[in-house]
């Protein structure tokens, strides 16, 4: 009986994930469009956390966001305000949102608005700032804040108008295409970014902005290979949100890290987080940096792996090993091993090199514990101190404890219900 209950629930979760259809519908201001957002709310990546436990890069991004919002005038004042209890810190995941790395979202930041066309739920994400010294890696110098202001005042308005002229962008089709062009949607987004530019460029040039602004927007998108990441992430978020809360399901609905802890949530266990200290990322470092500089694993971007892309689709993105380490054969092995811990193959995201086999989709906590195979994640590495930024990229696994605790809680829940 229990096996069938779980099987049927997991089938239901996968049916929702497979039939979800994320589309980009527009750009809005976080405080106006994200549910539960206030002037003094700061969203962050990962499971819930308090200021005193935040890692360097998350603290740095919080400081930067307070400076950006004009709620503090310098670092010292920002730290004082953050520690005062006046600011409400809350996970992006509790607000239909996701954020890469530190994932900090504040009230006046522009955000992409996505809709799951099949189920009607929305997801939100900030626009990607590029690599290096950026807020999401905990940098908050004046160049970081100036870039964010330019994004608010030029980038977002131009793209908003272009989107109004274009109409909704079908992201499911675009992500599927990008995966067949050598992206995996987490750390390699060259194809996705190029496809987005190809789609929007004719409409950007038709907007009412100056030639200079339009050229600057196109140049900014072109110069940032990760621009599309902030669209794959909310596309995955609105896919997974629709599949949350399916009773008796053992499928992972959320994986996320705040730089201190890694947390997971299970579809059949509602909003409960199962957390453990985040692991260190093994990877390649930018010149001048080493493992000594690294912060533990951070960011909501592991939502890609949770949906069946990212590290799970590495077989289709062999070039990524130049960024995260390893060999193309390793990339294939990572994908093939993920079939051991997932419920089924993706019907939309397929890998040409594996004879167009669908990517491994829907992580089952029972399979993870039984096989001892942990989900593979490829990710950026943030400097451990606030204000520095990205120092490398690599591969990491979730702590096994999250999965063990989730399994234990699931069994306890079944006992409570009298099913076992």
């Amino acid at each position: 009986m229990i096996e069938k209950l779980i099987q049927d629930a997991n089938d239901k979760v996968l049916e929702i994930m497979q039939s979800s259809h994320p589309v980009l519908v527009g750009i809005g201001i976080a405080g106006e469009v994200i549910p539960g957002m206030t002037k003094k709310t700061l969203l962050h990546a990962g499971p819930p956390i308090t200021w005193d436990k935040m890692s360097g890069p998350l603290k740095g991004a919080i400081i930067g966001a307070l400076l950006y919002e004009g709620l503090a005038t310098d670092q010292e004042a920002a730290e004082k305000l953050a520690a005062s209890g006046e600011i409400k810190f809350d996970p992006c995941h509790h607000h239909s949102s996701v954020g890469p790395m530190a994932g900090v979202v504040s009230a006046t930041m522009p955000v992409w608005i996505l809709e799951n066309k099949t189920y009607g739920n929305k997801a939100f994400c900030t626009l990607n700032e590029g690599l290096g010294k950026v807020l999401r890696y905990g940098a908050f110098s004046s160049e970081v804040i100036d870039r964010l202001k330019w994004m608010e005042n030029v980038l977002a308005p131009v793209l908003k108008e272009a989107l109004e002229l274009h109409g909704p962008v079908d992201l499911k089709v675009m992500i599927a295409q990008a995966i067949q062009m050598g992206d995996e949607g987490h750390n390699r987004n060259k194809a996705g970014t190029s496809l987005l530019i190809r789609e929007l460029a004719p409409f950007i040039v038709k907007t009412s902005f100056s030639e200079e602004d339009k050229a600057a927007v196109l140049k900014f998108m072109h110069s940032n290979d990760h621009f599309f990441l902030n669209l794959t992430m909310p596309a995955c978020k609105c896919t997974l949100d629709a599949a949350a809360g399916i009773k008796y399901s053992t499928i992972v609905n959320t994986q996320a890290r705040n730089g201190t802890e890694f947390g997971i949530r299970i579809s059949g266990l509602g909003d409960r987080w199962f957390t453990a200290p985040a692991n260190m990322v093994k990877g390649l470092y930018f010149p001048g940096f080493s493992e000594k500089d690294a912060n533990p694993d951070i960011g909501d971007s592991v939502i890609t792996e949770t949906t069946g892309i990212g590290g799970f689709a590495m077989a289709g993105a062999p070039a990524i090993v130049q960024f995260v380490g390893g060999t193309p054969k390793d990339a294939v092995n990572f994908t093939t091993s993920m079939y051991e811990i997932t419920h089924e193959e993706n019907k939309s995201f397929v890998i040409p090199f594996l004879n167009f086999r669908g990517t491994p989709t829907g992580i089952d906590i029972r399979k993870v514990i039984e096989t001892g195979i942990m989900p593979i994640i490829n990710t950026g590495i943030a400097h451990k101190e606030a204000g520095v930024g990205q120092v490398g990229a690599g591969l990491v696994y979730p702590p096994q404890k999250c999965y063990e605790d989730a399994l234990e809680a699931f069994v306890a829940e079944m006992e409570k219900e009298g099913i076992i």
């Binding site: 229990i2 096996e3 779980i6 039984e370 399994l407 069994v411």
Partner: protein
């Protein structure tokens, strides 16, 4: 016994499950060996095995 002896007179092709050092030793002796990536369920953790069993139908 005689059948076992016959086996060792032919070319050996070995599938090794478990400790990889066994297959490495055979490889060094030029034997064709395939290592199976096998681990005990839940890494042999009794608590996890029990939890997994609770989620299986009683046969």
């Amino acid at each position: 016994m005689s059948k076992v002896n016959e086996l060792f007179k032919t070319e050996l092709k070995v599938i090794n499950m478990g400790l990889k050092s066994f297959s490495n030793e055979l490889k060094h002796q030029g034997v064709t060996v395939l290592q199976v990536d096998w681990r005990p369920p839940a890494g042999g953790n009794p608590k996890m095995i029990e939890l997994l069993n609770r989620l299986k139908d009683r046969k």
